[in-house]
Symmetry: C2
């Protein structure tokens, strides 16, 4: 048996544990009663420890060395490259740190739920301090293994090859562009009549039916996944069994619908991964910025564009029995594309969204570097938010307590949201240029032309190619802010 084949077997086993962990996480958010939390934390810590042990085992390192000398196809060589990448991230950490991170993350996340509900940062602060202490150990260990900075050690787990120096450059570009652009958009918006509010309520049963119709139109396969409800929408599970969630509010016709479109974008990426590579690193999604580009291609690029919106508007009128001027295409479009200086990231429009991300990126870098204490986070958040968006959150629930990420141990993740938005703009522009009739199809609710192009040019690569290769082949060049800025200008300053 070749060393490479031994590795394949080992990574297959790791993938099975990762799949079980994904189910446990979905269940915790969507199904689990509160009394199950402590036992679930132990289950998760144990499976994380076992998954770690499968790779940290010294044999794996030897096999990696041996396999690099074996006669492999180009695809197997790409898989081997990804195996080493995963191995470096895994073996960098001692087993007790893996278990401690899992337990501290679970405890902090449970404390955060209560703290956020009560807007009581002090209630979660000791948990977050303990967790950050461990995350900094994780960062240091990955930094040493990858020869990068501690923050980049974390970032690289979510965004293979991602480096803060590059992010700094593109974020500086955006930070220079956005404030002036936002002022211009808000001025233009203010000069027009405000859109009519949609007369609700929008019954949850009708929303559930509507979003399933939309998912089906988008190409989602309910034999390979399901849609449930949780406090925060997400797409979890595994490519053969995707677990999407959303939440519905009876007074909001858009949030549930557009968040489902977003999560379905993630799901379609997973469904489109090369199935012959299931269980192997080469078959996995290629990092979080590309992942987010697929959800945002659907939610921001497609669904909020005029063509697709005209179809969605008709679906909404049918679902809610909507008649009258508030339900007209133009009014619905104005509502769906409203720009506002809000406090909540997950409800933010695409113009202000980068500011939410830039704030978090700055703060988490400072905390990982040891330049900002957890105790000072609320004040730093509010000051930074005011600096970027000109308003100050009225409380921590709408400030530094709003997102799960830090409290769950996901540090170094936030910048991928905005990298994803830029990638989505670049990818969608390429699709539109390459696929004749793309918009006409979307106006009919026909996603097949868009999905086919995304499958062939993004999904099917899995991790066989690296991010920049995928993007260059698909769009003609590496990531830049150009397409994103052009998209924002076209949509918010040039459309009727």
């Amino acid at each position: 048996m070749r060393a490479y084949d031994r590795l394949k077997e080992r990574f297959h086993r790791r993938s099975a544990i990762a799949g079980a962990l994904a189910l446990l996480q979905w269940d915790r958010a969507a199904m689990m009663p509160t009394g199950g939390a402590a036992a679930r934390a132990e289950q998760t810590a144990e499976l994380e420890t076992l998954a770690h042990g499968l790779l940290a085992d010294g044999a794996v390192e030897s096999w990696l060395g041996e396999a690099e000398g074996e006669d492999l196809s180009a695809a197997d060589r790409a898989n081997l490259r990804e195996m080493r990448r995963v191995w470096v991230h895994t073996a960098a950490l001692p087993a007790d740190l893996v278990a401690a991170l899992a337990r501290a993350g679970a405890a902090c996340e449970m404390a955060w739920r209560g703290a956020r509900a009560a807007s009581d940062f002090a209630a979660v602060r000791p948990h977050l301090e303990k967790l950050l202490h461990l995350v900094r150990q994780e960062a240091a260990a990955k930094a040493a293994a990858l020869s990068v900075s501690p923050y980049d050690g974390l970032l690289d787990s979510f965004e293979p090859g991602g480096r803060s120096a590059e992010i700094d450059a593109v974020f500086a570009d955006l930070a220079a562009f956005l404030p002036g652009f936002l002022a211009e958009v808000l001025e233009r918006q203010a000069a027009r009549p405000a859109p009519l509010p949609l007369p609700g309520p929008f019954p949850v049963a009708a929303q559930r039916t509507l979003v399933r119709r939309v998912m089906t139109a988008m190409g989602f396969d309910f034999a390979h996944g399901r849609l449930d409800e949780s406090a925060h929408p997400f797409c979890g599970g595994i490519p053969d069994d995707l677990r999407l969630t959303t939440r519905y509010a009876e007074d909001d016709a858009f949030f549930g619908l557009l968040s489902v479109v977003h999560e379905t974008g993630h799901a379609l990426y997973e469904l489109g991964l090369p199935s012959v590579w299931r269980g192997q690193p080469a078959g996995e999604a290629r990092g979080m910025s590309l992942h987010e580009s697929q959800s945002l291609s659907m939610e921001m690029q497609a669904a909020r564009g005029d063509a697709c919106l005209s179809w969605l508007a008709a679906e909404m009128r049918a679902a809610f029995g909507g008649v009258g001027p508030a339900w007209g295409d133009a009014n619905l479009a104005a509502l769906a594309r409203r720009v506002e200086r809000g406090f909540i990231r997950v409800e933010a429009d695409e113009v202000t969204y980068p500011a939410h991300v830039i704030l978090r990126y700055r703060l988490e870098r400072a905390m990982i570097a040891g330049d900002l204490d957890v105790a000072d986070l609320p004040e730093a958040w509010n000051r930074g938010f005011h600096e970027l968006l000109g308003v100050t959150p009225p409380d921590d629930a709408r400030g530094c307590l709003q997102d799960i990420h830090w409290y769950d141990g996901a540090w170094g993740y936030f910048p991928t949201y905005t990298l994803g938005a830029m990638t989505a703009a670049q990818v969608f522009a390429a699709a539109r240029a390459a696929v004749p009739g793309l918009d006409a199809a979307l106006a009919r609710g026909d996603f097949a032309p868009l999905l086919s192009w995304l499958r062939a040019n993004v999904h099917a690569h899995g991790s066989l190619l690296e991010t920049e290769d995928i993007l260059t082949r698909a769009t003609g060049g590496p990531l830049s802010a150009t397409a994103f800025k052009a998209h924002l200008r076209a949509r918010y300053l040039e459309e009727a």
Copy 2:
């Protein structure tokens, strides 16, 4: 660190994996889309393999030996006894057999779903043959480790210390008693006017509300569990997070309700296990016959008795808006206690139920012994069924394809249903004798007196005591068919 403490740590880890497996199994039955089956089988096989590896590791055997010489409390000594028991069952099997059983069981169970729907035994036969081949290896390995027969090696996994020689004796007793008794009951039943059928439909939404009211009255804690739906009702999960399922039919007001009462009986046992022993063998439920005795104490002993039925009848009338003679207490009781020679075990009344079990027990023993081929199962089933109940199943869906157990790899499980029914009668008679006002409380829907007694006399022991000890302390003697026969006589021949 004492060897015993090392063992506790190891068993804690095993328990975390077992909890994850329980969630995966619940999800497969209640949530998973069909496309997730293959990946789920791999996840399950991997976790089974890892759980096996934690105990099969040679260190555990040494620690067991060492710990037996350590100075331990009586409770720790009981825990150590159970550790050895679990270890014997686990270490008896080679790792590759564990993985092969998990994979073959998953494949056979998936094939069975289709085969049962189509009543096509041939479609599942090769899967069942492959699985039985592996189960016989499992039986032989356990037989060698326990110095018992192969069948008893399997039985012992579900029923600690259970031996077919003893089961043969009590089943012979029942088999001698039941045919004559059944004829007498049917004759008496036929001599009375048939109960009025309940006018349906019984909307599923109303059933869902009703069963949750009943679960709450019984003492179920929704902070530690949930109720969902699946093809076969079951109670899974872990004591802190129980996962119950049922199914509803709009034309049947009883099945969903009484199956929830049954599963809630299982759940209350798990909830009542000693929480200081969580994650340790001493804290686990004591075998399947005692488990089934707790579900049947609720479903057959309590809920189908006059006192509790009068309360349930009022709840049913309120839930379904039932008025008129069909909804009277006496008519509802006659419906709930109707005895019939039906084909389906899970729908069988308590008089004919043992015949269903005895048939399966005979057949599975013959198959494990190599005396009956899978190919000959349908014919042997139909012949045996006719012998025991005087009717012949019209097809295999209502014959040898009806139950999941064999197709899922659970061989040696069936006799515990009838051992459980006998145990329930004995336990309930003891509770009624010990608790003044038990029936009066049940007639008000107050389960607290019954539950308190069961908690103190059964649940709280976990596996700190062995089954016969628990039963003797609770009821004054070891298991016999006496109380069960007395119960059947009182209910079916003496009640008004």
